[in-house]
Assembly symmetry: D2
Homo-oligomer: 337 residues x 4
């Protein structure tokens, strides 16, 4: 008998990935999966890849559906988490995959999202200093945004160590299409995304303040790209080095930061990350160099936006909150080719 | 402590998938991974997605490398399995992913492959009647060809039940590029396969006799296609109905054949298989209908060519041979989207 | 000064391809492009690839918009062509890319389409015997369905020559996503079609009667597949040989049928068609063999579903109707890789 | 009768695109196509999409093969252009698609390429101030590198106008796989590039000095990415604004620079470039903004790496050199979807 968990908002891509991870998790039992517009439909109608859930129906997203759950994952549209969380029984732990409880500064929320700011929860990025213990002690955790994970893992240690200038950071990050969600919008059709890389929300993406908050960057130029693949984020992070640290030294900062991390791999020198290597996993690949001519540190990261960028991260947090092994039900091994 | 297993030929795609499955298997421990031309290189140099194997080197494919193994998976080029198998210590169990020991009739071997016929081993398709027990009792098992699995699971029960005519079978099956292997041939470049579907080896593919042997088809037109995706096979199998069985009755044949099978899903009526739903899994999706106007049964199957079509199948056989739960380390759930 | 042409229904993919071909055509001038739900929007808002049409707006699809046109292309949803055609000024020539006027037998129409049968127009496949002259003499032409072109070019000559049995034809054809149109349906999202091949409308596709009509097949099993590419159809057509004709003789039938055709290429023996080779073109690649063991002719064709399968075909017909060189504004050369 | 042209190095992707453009060009006649390792093979064996060249063989790359040519395109590996150019008959015009004659400073050559520096030719980017006339007057033109075009078109006018700081430029550019050439390297297999975006040659790409030379940038951090599509480059170019110019003013710089350019489109405000919109064309899409918070200009460009990035550019230069209309045989319209 595992811990009883539920997924609110199980019809989307992050919700589906949560269901997949829970189905393969040795310590979690799914007791409810909900979706408002999909209530009554079979899980496999929406997620035909989840063969082991054949016969399981989606329930409406109502508080009473979660009565049996010890922990609830919220994979709801932005702005819907607070109300549901407030209506859950006392003692139920919650991991929110939405943006509602990530931002410290309400002004950041109001600039990018509609509605009221719901207040901050413990930030669900275990690899940040101190966060692993904080998550383990929390009942409410706000899991990270996908671009934020990809940007923060390479950058935060560099700023914290004082080797990267927080005042001149440029991030260009290419995402697979599942990051744009499952609403059938014309520009997300296969006919449109095949053969195509494009930029969008240049300088205006809602993850911008969260990246700054999580990394300590004070000035950030952030350009997201859409790439013709279903999953994956490749982030190119550049910043000016401070002082005289060379390539070996900045590399050493990352090596030390992640020496004991089960999901973060600093690749051998000269080998650069590939999103395909993280497909379906909770892993993150990193590499870093200094371009001496340009006077810039260049760090590159790869994650699966639905894995370490969303559902994998959420399960990792849940494992910590529940006292399970942190890696239970997760893997750093991607599905490739 | 799990059962000690080794992989001979770990540098290719099937070998890499074996390593991935073994790394996530609760009852198997990897004791050796070998590759002739890649000996000495790191596993992660060839398979950067296998983060948990960082630091593990590939060894040469020599008999002494398998001294500690209780079971060896052979993922070698065709024609190399017999010699290595003969040189392994007595008592070592073997699962061969190559074609060497699949065919009953030496004439079939000689028509499609060079060199001597190595003789038949127990055929590794557990879902065939009687094969599950035979595999469990065997020390040497020949796992199935990828197109053969995709063709046999929908067709064999129909011929066995006498509802499909074995004398007029047409199979057209589209495969992802990993099925063509890892040798860098010009026509397999990304630039060539993107935007492209093509036919190849029309009427001459080496899996043709194996499909006939496994299904009981006496006349088979088999056309393989190459599709722009890394994994997956979608097989369209058509045959003339015999007698007066209708769509409901032929569907019932498949429903009964696979009612208790953990990896084979007959989809709800009207829902057709998608390769994406089997990506990274050991699952198979099936659907069937009768086209009354055309006078043909049309059955469609989807598998992952590296999963149920190769490494997953091999692990399923190994589980049976070792007395482990048949589903250990495997899942029917694909990684999608 | 070229011939004045207009496109009704210019917002979809076939309409966009018509605009692209007209823009590059030395003998045609675009005088109007219309789209009901898109009226008022810029052409480049819907088709950002059509840089030379910057500043051109879409007009509503109303008869008066076509007052200046000498020929109108109709790329409307099925069932809308007849009413508009009837309202056009006398003397305006019309090429319809929809299904409305293709079928001879009203029963075929009623089985697959809603609404009344609009009656048959001259069938727009110039490579069929006699059709080139018929099209040149016609004022109303019904261009072909995409799967129909891909199936008919390899098959029709074989049945006409008496070398293929019309009573046992099996076609499996894989199409790129643009064939499914531009309506934002969930199953057409990039996230869904990437990594995926699937079958759909098995035995029930609306092109089935048109293929039979155009080829002379009396029994046809037709299975369409959706492949992860934006354009292209690869059709595998198999039929039983009649009499004793061998591979060389059936090949000769196609060689003679298309010896002088500018857009149809019978490939060198042993080379099989690739959709990528027809991308963006009006070309068709063919290859054929006899699988002696299976007792089946297997012919394979590749086209661009938006080219020879839709807009290219329509322009070829228009060239004939207008007395322009048949190849004007068209090419058999694909855009590859 | 058109101008007689030849292609040296016609077996690769840039060579194939040259053949395609020449075949569709109203003013050019192909008199020779050569390829050393492919000499004797049919053009359509290497480029099956070039149906109109059926029957044309590749000749060896020897000076005498070009005796009839008035202009020769060189699409050779780096380092091979100078020797062939020197051996051509006097009076033959040459457009080199290789890097041999692009760089002003021999030190730049020696840092990135082996062998001797061959000396500079007229630089083949007509949209740069003064270059159109220089190209028209030249007998030897060095066409641009693909990443250089994508970086230079958005950036050069900004630096020239003094609105962008040349001392802090960051470019991240994603390329389709054809940019990596046609040699069958393992990492370019379809199985490897599908589902994958990766970075390579970070800070060390050989186009870096050419971008600096063409744009006037003094400090450049350049990170190329490989994306899962056959063609296309999307470049994200960021630089610090100098002075107080706002988004409207920097946009106006590009608007004026390209107001009369047939192949460069500054998109409507708020619309961002898509590589798919330039597929198969000689067009370039641009967009620009200022991210006030980050204090950075962000400009994005899209081209086809084989079009405006290679063969299209070369034909545009040839048109100028030959006194043909600059746009002859070229289009700004992409093939989409």
């Amino acid at each position: 008998m595992g811990v009883r968990v539920a997924v609110a908002g199980a019809s989307g891509y992050a919700g589906g990935e949560l269901l997949r991870l829970i189905a393969g998790h040795p310590g979690l039992d799914l007791v409810a999966a909900t979706g408002d517009s999909s209530a009554g439909r079979a899980v496999t109608d929406l997620h035909p890849h989840l063969a082991t859930l054949a016969g399981v129906p989606l329930r409406p997203t109502a508080p009473e559906e979660f009565a049996d759950a010890e922990l609830v994952f919220l994979a709801l549209p932005h702005g819907h988490s607070a109300a549901l969380a407030a209506a859950l029984p006392a003692g139920v732990k919650v991991v929110d995959l939405g943006a509602d409880h990530r931002l410290v500064d309400p002004a950041d929320w109001h600039r990018y999202y509609p509605g009221e700011h719901a207040g901050r929860w413990t930030y669900g990025l275990p690899e940040l200093p101190g966060q692993r213990a904080a998550i383990a002690a929390a009942d409410r955790v706000a899991a990270t945004g996908c671009y934020v994970v990809a940007s923060t893992l390479p950058l935060a240690p560099l700023i914290a160590a004082g080797v990267a200038d927080p005042d001149d950071v440029v991030v260009v990050a290419a995402s697979g299409t599942s990051g744009a969600g499952r609403s059938p919008k014309p520009h997300l059709l296969g006919s449109e995304v095949l053969n195509d890389v494009s930029a969008y929300k240049v300088g205006t993406h809602q993850h911008t303040p969260e990246i700054k908050q999580a990394t300590g960057a004070r000035s950030l130029s952030f350009t997201p790209l859409l790439a013709p693949m279903p999953r994956g984020i490749l982030a190119t992070v550049t910043a000016r080095p401070t002082g005289t640290a060379g390539a070996g030294e900045v590399r050493q900062v990352l090596a030390e930061a992640y020496a004991d991390e089960p999901f973060v791999s600093l690749l051998p020198d000269g080998t650069w990350p590939h999103t395909a290597a993280t497909f379906g996993s909770n892993g993150c690949q990193l590499q870093i160099t200094i371009d001496a001519d340009a006077g810039r540190i260049v760090a590159v990261s790869a994650i699966d936006n639905l894995g370490k960028g969303a559902a994998g991260q959420a399960v990792q947090c849940a494992n910590l909150m529940l006292g399970l092994p942190e890696t239970a039900g997760l893997t750093a091994n991607g599905v490739a080719p």
